[in-house]
């Protein structure tokens, strides 16, 4: 999604001369064009993430909505207090951009993974976390972030393209809708592609992709599907605590939607204490195609 991200940032910078981009010394092979074209508004803040978020708050206060870019764990955990105090409490237009959310950085190891980022950020005042699932979502998320103006987190990953034309511009997107569903699957982020693959040839399961946390929008399509199936499976590249599954359960309870069955597949850390690609970690956590197929076969 870095390519789509850089292209969209370029467009936004072209049309709004107030925007500022800060990077924590990262962006090789992606951000060079923005750096050279908008040198006065592109700041390499060095390997100093806490300062970078403070800077962004100061810039936003002075009328410059800012993007803060780093690898997801560095952008989120190192800077959590700055995000909470300097950005969120004041409702400043600062977007934290975390590249490689979840296990996105694969073999780079645990230092580079972020599976608790949404749990850390989504409860903060005024904060909206955006988790694009497909490459095409990045543009929509950035448009929303710029329009909404407040604190935001954009969790980038390795996204695939949309499998078929779907309605872009919905916070919970209908990826697959069937006439008589027995199960409603709700995913968040690029892991959606495993659900799409697992559902090939399956005609009685609905699939949705949720773009935000907190859940900003609960569409009638999603509500109708859950009302009809009373059976929900959440698939998220995030820990069980504080992610989509927990947010969703609260929402379903408030909406008084009755469930017969609820299951959530989450990131499980490093159960075998070994490391590998994103696909490897998905498999270890049971987020892979086969695990989803097994669940479908038995439920």
């Amino acid at each position: 999604m870095r390519k789509e991200f850089a292209a969209k940032i370029g467009q936004l910078f072209e049309s709004d001369d107030k925007l500022v981009f800060l990077t924590g010394d990262l962006g090789y092979n992606a951000l060079e064009e923005i750096q050279s074209k908008y040198s006065d508004r592109f700041i390499n803040a060095g390997v100093a993430e806490q300062n970078m978020v403070g800077l962004a708050s100061g810039l936003a206060y002075e009328g410059h909505p800012s993007f803060v870019y780093s690898i997801a764990p560095f952008a989120v955990y190192r800077t959590l207090e700055q995000i909470r105090l300097d950005v969120c409490i004041h409702n400043h237009a600062v977007c934290i951009v975390g590249n490689g959310g979840g296990y996105g950085y694969g073999i780079m190891g645990a230092t580079h993974h972020a599976n608790e980022d949404l749990a850390c950020l989504s409860p903060l005042p005024n904060m909206v976390c955006w988790v694009p699932a497909f490459s095409e979502d990045v543009e929509y998320c950035l448009d929303q972030i710029v329009t909404r103006k407040g604190p935001a987190y954009l969790r980038l990953g390795l996204g695939v393209s949309y499998p078929q034309p779907v309605k872009i511009g919905l916070i919970n997107q209908v990826i697959k809708s069937t006439k008589k569903p027995r199960l409603t699957i709700i995913t968040q982020g690029p892991v959606v592609k495993n659900a799409i693959k697992a559902l090939e040839g399956v005609e009685d399961v609905d699939l949705f992709s949720m773009l935000t946390l907190p859940i900003l929008d609960f569409t009638p399509e999603l509500k109708n599907s859950i009302e009809s199936t009373q059976n929900v499976l959440v698939i998220e590249e995030h820990t069980e605590r504080g992610g989509l599954a927990e947010h969703l359960l609260m929402r379903l309870t408030r909406e008084k939607l009755r469930l017969n069955q609820f299951e959530a597949f989450n990131a499980k850390g490093y159960p075998s204490k070994t490391y590998g690609s994103q696909d490897f970690h998905w498999k270890e956590s049971g987020l892979d195609v086969e695990s989803i197929q097994n669940y479908l076969a038995n439920n």
């Binding site: 806490q50 100061g58 206060y61 300097d86």
Partner: protein
């Protein structure tokens, strides 16, 4: 005399509220008087050592932003005047501060914005010397030099006492002039209770804006003006009883009328 008048207000504020953070407010009060005397209306002073909120509140009361009536709500339920400055209530409190190490990066961002906007205003940030223990100080310091933020004036309230010991006995003098010089700051060291000297040093910063950010290391006395509080770490925390309050007021008279 402003130094006496605001100290009286400050002591009354803390006595009425029966709370601590008195000595650290007294050590930086003169710095605030000098800064508010020198800054333009639209310029901002970032009080990064937010635990000295009382000093800021009496200063803002003095310039008319906080009314006498509102000042009496300090520390009470429902107040806008919490023990550390809170967000979104006053023009001259642009950020909620009190977790140390936040103000300098924010002020650097504001100064950078002014550079982008080709705005000639200055940004001021007041830190404690203990606060310079924080790593963000050194992240922001290098950023300010690398980005030639000569519109940024850092003032350090160097009273040589921090939360649980003298600065020398904790991490050493992390506010020492050599450190700032080595990074590339325009450094001045000044008596932090001498208003004329402070004003002069602020003016010098404004005149010598040749690419380097500025730091004024203000040597101060924790508890300045109240004899029994001076250089006493415990007066970071203690509230005054009635007798102590009376003695404090008497001490002020002696110091500022002598």
């Amino acid at each position: 005399m402003k130094q006496l008048e605001l100290r009286r207000k400050l002591l009354k504020l803390y006595f009425d509220a029966k709370c601590g953070h008195i000595a650290c407010s007294l050590s930086c009060l003169d710095l605030l008087i000098a800064l508010f005397g020198q800054k333009k209306e639209d310029e901002r002073v970032i009080l990064s050592k937010g635990h000295a909120a009382g000093a800021l509140y009496v200063m803002l009361n003095h310039i008319g932003e906080i009314s006498d009536n509102m000042l009496t709500t300090f520390y009470q339920n429902g107040t806008k005047l919490s023990a550390h400055p809170s967000a979104n209530s006053f023009t001259n409190i642009p950020f909620a501060l009190g977790s140390l190490g936040h103000g300098f990066p924010i002020a650097s961002g504001m100064a950078k914005a002014k550079k982008i906007n080709r705005d000639s205003d200055f940004v001021y940030v007041l830190m404690s010397d203990g606060e310079t223990n924080e790593g963000t100080t050194w992240e922001a310091a290098h950023f300010a030099v690398a980005n030639r933020l000569d519109n940024l004036i850092v003032i350090i309230d160097r009273n040589r006492l921090q939360g649980f010991g003298g600065t020398d006995s904790v991490l050493g003098d992390t506010a020492a002039a050599e450190k700032w010089q080595a990074i590339g700051f325009n450094v001045q060291e000044v008596d932090g209770h001498d208003l004329k000297a402070l004003e002069k040093s602020i003016q010098r910063c404004k005149q010598e804006n040749l690419g380097s950010p500025h730091v004024i290391i203000a040597n101060t006395i924790k508890g300045k003006g109240v004899d029994y509080m001076e250089n006493k770490m415990e007066w970071h925390y203690l509230p005054m009883n009635e007798e102590q309050y009376e003695n404090a007021m008497l001490s002020l008279e002696k110091v500022y009328y002598a």
